[in-house]
Assembly symmetry: D3
Homo-oligomer: 69 residues x 6
């Protein structure tokens, strides 16, 4: 499946913290550069994610804000 | 200001494409790793963004999906 | 690519309205049931969407609200 | 109340899975076509949702991505 | 219609800036307290919004970030 | 840090309800005007939020819907 989301950053699962409904998953997308995701626990299971898995962090462009110092 | 968004990826503005209301801004957050953002044109102006500026791509964790091949 | 978004509704493109940065795309996902999407114009082009194309409307569960009458 | 969200799909609650803060609610919006929502548990209670209730799945157009196979 | 979004701030339309696809609408929700919204131009038209209209700014709780100084 | 999100409403933390992964935080942004946020529990901890803290509710304009009665 090819998706309209402009951002798909390839990485490796560093940690998975499951809750009752959601799970927090951290992906390392470049050395030292981590992205944190909250998805449903059901989705994390469906994707077969475990620590060390390859995965993409996918973000719709309209959900990316910008900031400056 | 310190924000709750878990993801703030530091990078450099590569391009800015303005529309009537929104602008598309591309940030390079690691060599060859780009993140695309849609923000209001007013925000892009307020932040003083130009090509070459330093900026952070900020994403709330609940807006990050995961995908596997 | 298999994505964590819980919702992927298959349908047919009914209309595409391009703006400077974004495009509005309407998908019919069941007879008489339409879903409207705003994606970047670049994404609409990348996906090769035209009226009559098959496409999926993909929505992260945390972006679905519920309402009652 | 009339809302700007372009998408309001009428359906029937199929399941409700409560967590500590959020609840996952599945709505059938057409025969065999389900939409999954994560809302706060407080909202699910406020709306009086139970399995079998009529409800609308409401999605802002900017939160709908598109995908093709 | 009663919606699951936890936040519905009542206010008055201060300005409407239309683009090709989207419109930017500013609502004053308390004296001197403004909220800016981007909705589709079609939605702004459907709701009959004009400067001076009463309107609610509706935000899903999962789309509210927090920040501290 | 200066962020592109158009909405940053200053207020006071009224309540914090922690779950396994997320926390629900209510901010009073004007007398009697509350905004509810769902952020990760880790973020709530990182920001040092407690009842009575000053905090900003930050919302990207594309995540604000409008409604009329």
């Amino acid at each position: 499946m090819k998706i309209s989301a402009r951002n798909a950053l390839k990485g490796t699962v560093k940690s998975i913290t499951p809750g009752a409904v959601n799970a927090e998953v951290v992906i390392e997308v470049a050395p030292g550069l981590e992205v944190t995701s909250i998805i449903t626990k059901a989705s994390a299971d469906n994707l077969g994610l475990v620590v060390g898995s390859e995965a993409y962090a996918v973000v719709k462009a309209s959900n990316v804000m910008l900031a400056v110092e």
